[in-house]
Amino acid sequence: MGLLSWLKHAADYLGGSRAGPPPGLPLPLASPAWGLWWGLLAALIALFCGQSSKFIYIDF
């Protein structure tokens, strides 16, 4: 697996669109580290929410 493919696989896995991690990424689905990842995502949501705006593709 090339570096770009590995990065894509890892990004997809961290984004929730792949079932398993790429080779060499020690983060199984049962890992408590997901709590940290979700906490980070929740913090970003809390930081940036409330700016506007509706989704573009609704009632366009």
Partner: protein
């Protein structure tokens, strides 16, 4: 709106997903149907068109009744398609079409002043039509009433897709995934990532790009305009892919797989690849129900190119009732046709003819009695190769102009086998060819967003400023 509200998650999604998992299997479709009706009514009233919009739930009732009559080669299927098209046309395009038809009068006596759009009309009508067409062709089972209601009322995808297929949805409905932990891990992650994409990226880019108007365009230099266009392209991507992430993650909480809508589209090396990875569910729909019935890729090249152009024009008008959306579709149609011709080797032949013509002109200008002309490109290319199509040689085309990444689509690559990886061209190493192909595709796709972002007049002014200063 809708997916970025507390009501969506705590009133609809989590209760419905939990209930769906806990009830007996024969009740699951009804959980989807009832929660979907409540969702449609609630968000129509609070976020869309009020109680009039909520009354459009009757469209679903009509569809659920008439769909019970669908049979292979049945006229009811055609009626269903016609009604869906009529609903879409009536709500979405009435004022647009009557405005154009009555333009010579100077006023539009047919205008619908209180026009509104039912929640998700562009998407649920496409699902209705898919079911009617597939029943007509005998490609979809009838399913039970509850299953069909669950299909059309499944609220995570009701408002903005991804556009589902009945054949793919029903097996998930009958036997949803039972891996609770994995589903909720993946679903929660997908939803959170979608919300981050929306709030932390798309909304930030919205604030940066929303102010572009004619006066701003007149003041900005061309690099600022180009940067704005790229920012707008990323905003569109992050906004819609965020929505799709939340929809797909929501489906995962139910244990139901929803089709993917995006797969890194901006990293593709030609526009055909881009469209196979951008709004995938719409692209599939257009291919299956418009492009292939028109003849698809079979037939003469002009006919195929015409089919491509028609599909993209439809895609454009589907995105919005305005001339700018038609032009956006025409732009992408033109790009796809160019890519098609390039893939077929027309570009090589055109280049060859131009090359020979140039050689003849120069030779005659230099010395009318000189030896027969030798095309220039034949001299610079160290190798002569044949086209991917048997019997259509690129006799004089230099290697860098026919390299695989620029021309071959994925389908063609699978048909022709692995690309030849022997040695790079003397003129262009492989990475440079790929990088150039990616850059050209990226810029071409992003230029089209100007039509998406502005009305036609402003978009044309934008291009004039961008290219002519």
């Amino acid at each position: 709106m809708v997916f970025n509200t507390f009501a969506y998650f705590f009133v609809f999604l989590i209760p419905a997903a939990l209930l769906f998992r806990l009830v007996r299997s024969e009740l699951r479709p009804w959980v989807c149907a009832v929660s979907g009706v409540a969702f449609f009514v609630y968000f129509s009233v609070t976020a869309q068109a009020g109680w009039v919009g909520a009354a459009c739930v009757i469209l679903f009732v009509w569809e659920s009744l008439v769909s019970r009559l669908y049979r292979t080669w049945s006229g009811w299927c055609l009626l269903g398609v016609g009604v869906s098209l009529g609903v879409l046309a009536g709500f979405k395009y009435w004022n647009f079409v009557t405005h154009w038809l009555t333009a010579p009068l100077g006023t539009n006596p047919l205008v619908w002043p209180g026009a509104f759009l039912p929640l998700g009309v562009s998407f649920f009508t496409f699902e209705f039509m898919h079911y009617a067409i597939d029943r007509y062709r005998g490609r979809a089972e009838r399913g039970r009433l509850g299953e069909y209601l669950a299909f059309i009322f499944f609220f995570p995808t009701m408002v903005a897709g991804p556009i589902k297929r009945f054949q793919e949805f029903v097996p998930c409905l009958r036997a949803p995934s039972t891996a609770w932990a994995a589903d909720w891990n993946r679903g929660t992650t997908r939803i959170l990532v979608g919300l981050v994409k929306k709030f932390a990226v798309a909304d930030v880019l919205t604030n940066l790009t929303v102010h572009l108007n004619r006066a701003d365009i007149a003041r900005a230099d061309r690099w600022a305009l180009l940067l704005w266009l790229f920012a707008y392209g990323w905003k569109i991507y992050f906004d819609f892919s965020a929505y799709s992430d939340i929809a797909i993650g929501s489906g995962r909480l139910f244990g139901i797989a929803i089709p993917e809508n995006f797969d890194w589209p901006y990293f593709r090396r030609n526009v055909a690849e881009f469209w196979r990875h951008w709004h995938i569910s719409l692209y599939r729909w257009l291919v299956d129900y418009v492009f292939i019935p028109l003849g698809g890729s079979r037939g003469a090249v002009p006919a195929v190119c015409g089919n491509i152009m028609l599909v993209m024009l439809l895609s454009g008008i589907w995105h919005g009732a305005g001339l700018n959306f038609v032009l956006w579709g025409a732009w992408h149609g033109t790009l796809l046709v160019m890519h098609r011709l390039w893939s077929l080797g027309w570009s090589g032949r055109a280049l060859q003819r131009a090359d020979r013509a140039a050689a003849i002109l120069v030779r005659h200008a230099a010395s009318p009695r000189a030896a027969p002309p030798v095309p220039f490109l034949a001299r610079v290319g160290p190798e002569r190769v044949t086209s991917r199509r048997a019997g259509a040689p690129y006799r004089d085309t230099p290697a860098f102009l026919r390299r695989e990444p620029l021309a071959l689509s994925r389908v063609e690559r699978s048909r022709t086998g692995p690309a030849d990886r022997s040695g790079d061209s003397a003129f262009c190493p492989r990475w440079l060819g790929r990088g150039t192909a990616w850059l050209l595709t990226y810029v071409a796709v992003n230029l089209g967003w100007a039509f998406f972002a502005m009305n036609t007049e402003t978009a044309l002014f934008f291009f004039r400023r961008l290219f002519l200063g």
